[in-house]
């Protein structure tokens, strides 16, 4: 490691009082930045809560979607639909992600492993709108909006997130555990399923919840592959499935006072679900042992 030349900072430049003043100003600025971020979070959440809470009622949570004129009753089908799409996306992305991570940590020699890691990193950099366009070309063209296309699109968004987090959790399983199992003559698959995977479960579950929360709010791919849906409950994945993000988007575009009120209500529900999932996942993993999830 190259050691930085500290003489730059340590040459006495002027008197100590000035140096302390500069230091204090800089610390103040850094603190102000943190305060600003927390304030922005507070303002955003408060804004959604204040505007959205008025729209909430049992009828709003269960009623069918508003017609395009923006004065219908509720968002029930969208809540169910988002739940279903995200569930299916998770069912696709989680096994693929975990198996890929297992392949990389337990089996693949570096020569094969590093290009796969590269692909995962590249995939994480694919803009979500491009994911939407891709799934459109693959599954939607000639068929129209379908729930399964939406699930596939969201699963592509989730896959790199889950794979990376699973890799990290698996890498953190102490090698001693694997060696102990080997020493006892335990076969490879039993070691992996009985020893390695269980000690990484917590990290993997957390990452999956966070990725699902991210997917629940993804709008861009759904706009391309799942934007045509009826106002009623639709759980058949061969049809367009109503979902919360697009409901908010179209209500906000419509812009009448009632539509806006309903958009705030839907936004409140979405934000509540996502933040609850985030807080739940974070308490699951415990403090201080996780890294940034971005």
């Amino acid at each position: 490691m190259s050691v930085p030349d500290p003489s730059h900072a340590l040459t006495p430049s002027g008197n100590l009082r000035r140096r302390m003043a500069v230091s204090n100003v800089m610390q103040g600025l850094a603190t102000a930045a943190a305060v600003l971020a927390v304030a922005v979070l507070g303002i955003l959440v408060a804004f959604v809560v204040v505007h959205g809470i008025g729209a909430l009622s049992w009828g709003f949570l269960t009623g069918s979607l508003p017609p395009p004129t923006g004065d219908g009753s509720g968002i029930g089908p969208a809540i169910l639909g988002t739940g279903e799409i995200v569930l299916f996306a998770t069912l696709i992305a989680a096994p693929v992600g975990v198996l890929t991570a297992l392949f990389l940590t337990e089996y693949a020699p570096p020569r094969i492993g590093s290009p796969i890691r590269l692909v995962i990193d590249v995939m994480a950099g694919v803009p979500t709108i491009v994911v939407g366009v891709f799934v459109y070309e693959l599954l939607v063209i000639g068929v129209g909006s379908t729930g399964y296309a939406a699930a596939v699109a969201l699963s592509i968004v989730m896959m790199p997130l889950i794979t990376r987090a699973a890799l990290e959790s698996l890498n953190r399983v102490p090698g001693v555990l694997r060696e102990a199992a080997d020493a006892l003559g335990v076969s490879r698959w039993r070691t992996i399923l009985g020893v390695v995977l269980p000690s990484a479960t917590r990290g993997i579950v957390t990452a999956t919840i966070l990725a699902a929360a991210r997917a629940a709010g993804e709008t861009a791919p759904l706009l391309i592959v799942d934007s045509v849906f009826g106002p009623n409950v639709q759980l058949n994945v061969a049809h367009g499935i109503p979902n919360i993000p697009l409901t908010i988007f179209s209500l906000a575009e419509y812009g009448t006072p009632i539509a806006k009120q309903q958009a705030w209500g839907a936004g409140f529900v979405l934000l509540f679900l996502i933040l609850a999932a985030n807080i739940g996942a974070r308490t699951l993993v415990g403090r201080g042992q996780r890294r940034a999830f971005v």
């Binding site: 930085p4 603190t31 971020a37 198996l99 990193d121 459109y136 988007f249 906000a252 974070r282 403090r287």
Partner: protein
């Protein structure tokens, strides 16, 4: 111990065998194969998905690539009804919003990283850290909606006049424009979305700086800021740059929030207070209602450009980060 550990799977074969061992052996061999097969299948699925993304986007864009060529990148007029397609307004809008928001987000995000890793009391950092990360969890459609209702008007009435008055000599901060939709509003929205990424990544990076270095500098009489400026930032520069490039990639690809506030005008204004458009938001706006096959293909060409930007920023960030990790290890 280490000798045994180096043996893969069942290493030793002495000891009298029990009868069922042979059956167990067969099950084990089968199960081993099944598991390794499944794992390879998972990895293959990931690679297949990525290759398929590239293939679909490139093949969809190829009619436009053949027809419009590389001139597409610099042509300034986009008029689907007139069958004239130029991507420059969107490339320009994408780059200028991403760069501006990255500058703001780097300043704020790195400051937050410094605060969380070195200045905040530990208790407070464990509260504020997750809160900052939670900012990244707010869905973009909501931030965009808040952008329409709150940030747009705020920018229009409270930020544009003073910025023009003080920084008006920079062409970017031109005279105030009517309406809240502008490139600048998009920049602020993007900043909100990128700050938490840079803050969380840089915090983790700053925490890896060896204690001996910072404590050594403190022992020599350096102030807090001098430690940061003279020791922490120089040792972590490449890691911080990698984090910023990652944030840049995120800002490039952000679609919905930008679509809601940017004004969707295919123009290349130098004045940030004027409406413009980005690649992602133009694709989202027009992809479902193309007026001609060439229009659809041109939109896929735009998607290919965006994909290129996104993949490049991933790769560059990865490259820089790998170098950084090697150095820190």
């Amino acid at each position: 111990m280490s000798y045994l550990a180096s043996q893969p799977g069942r290493g030793s074969r002495p000891v009298p065998r029990i009868r069922s061992t042979r059956r167990l052996n067969r099950i084990d061999r089968g199960a081993n194969r099944v598991l390794i097969g499944l794992c390879m299948l998972g990895a293959a699925a990931v690679i297949f998905a990525m290759v398929e993304i590239l293939y679909q986007v490139i093949s969809g864009a190829s009619p436009a690539i053949n027809k419009l060529g590389l001139g597409f990148l610099v042509d300034k007029v986009w008029s689907p009804s007139g069958a004239v397609f130029g991507a420059w307004p969107f490339i320009y809008g994408t780059l200028i919003t991403a760069v501006t928001s990255l500058v703001l987000a780097t300043l704020i995000g790195v400051s937050i990283g410094i605060y969380l890793s070195m200045l905040a009391p530990k208790r407070l950092a464990t509260v504020i850290g997750p809160m900052v990360e939670m900012l990244a969890a707010i869905p973009s459609v909501l931030i965009g909606f808040i952008g329409i209702v709150l940030i747009g008007p705020f920018v229009h009435s409270a930020l544009e006049p003073p910025l023009h008055a003080v920084l008006g000599w920079i062409p970017l901060f031109g005279p105030q424009q009517p309406g809240g939709s502008s490139l600048f509003t998009a920049c602020l929205v993007l900043t909100i979305m990128v700050v938490p990424i840079i803050a969380a990544l840089t915090r983790d990076i700053f925490l890896t700086v060896p204690r001996e270095l910072t404590e050594g500098a403190e022992a020599l009489g350096a102030t807090r800021w001098e430690v940061i400026r003279g020791v922490v930032l120089p040792t972590t520069t490449s890691g911080v740059i990698a984090a910023c490039v990652l944030g840049f990639g995120r800002a490039l690809g952000e679609t919905i929030a930008v679509l809601q506030v940017v004004g969707s005008l295919a123009a290349t204004p130098v004045n940030l207070f004027k409406p413009g458009d980005t690649i992602a938001s133009r694709i989202a706006a027009e992809f479902l209602s193309p007026v001609s096959p060439l229009h659809e293909s041109a939109l896929l060409y735009l998607a290919l450009i965006l994909l290129f930007f996104g993949v490049m920023s991933s790769l560059i960030s990865r490259r820089i980060a790998a170098g950084f990790q090697r150095r820190m290890a």
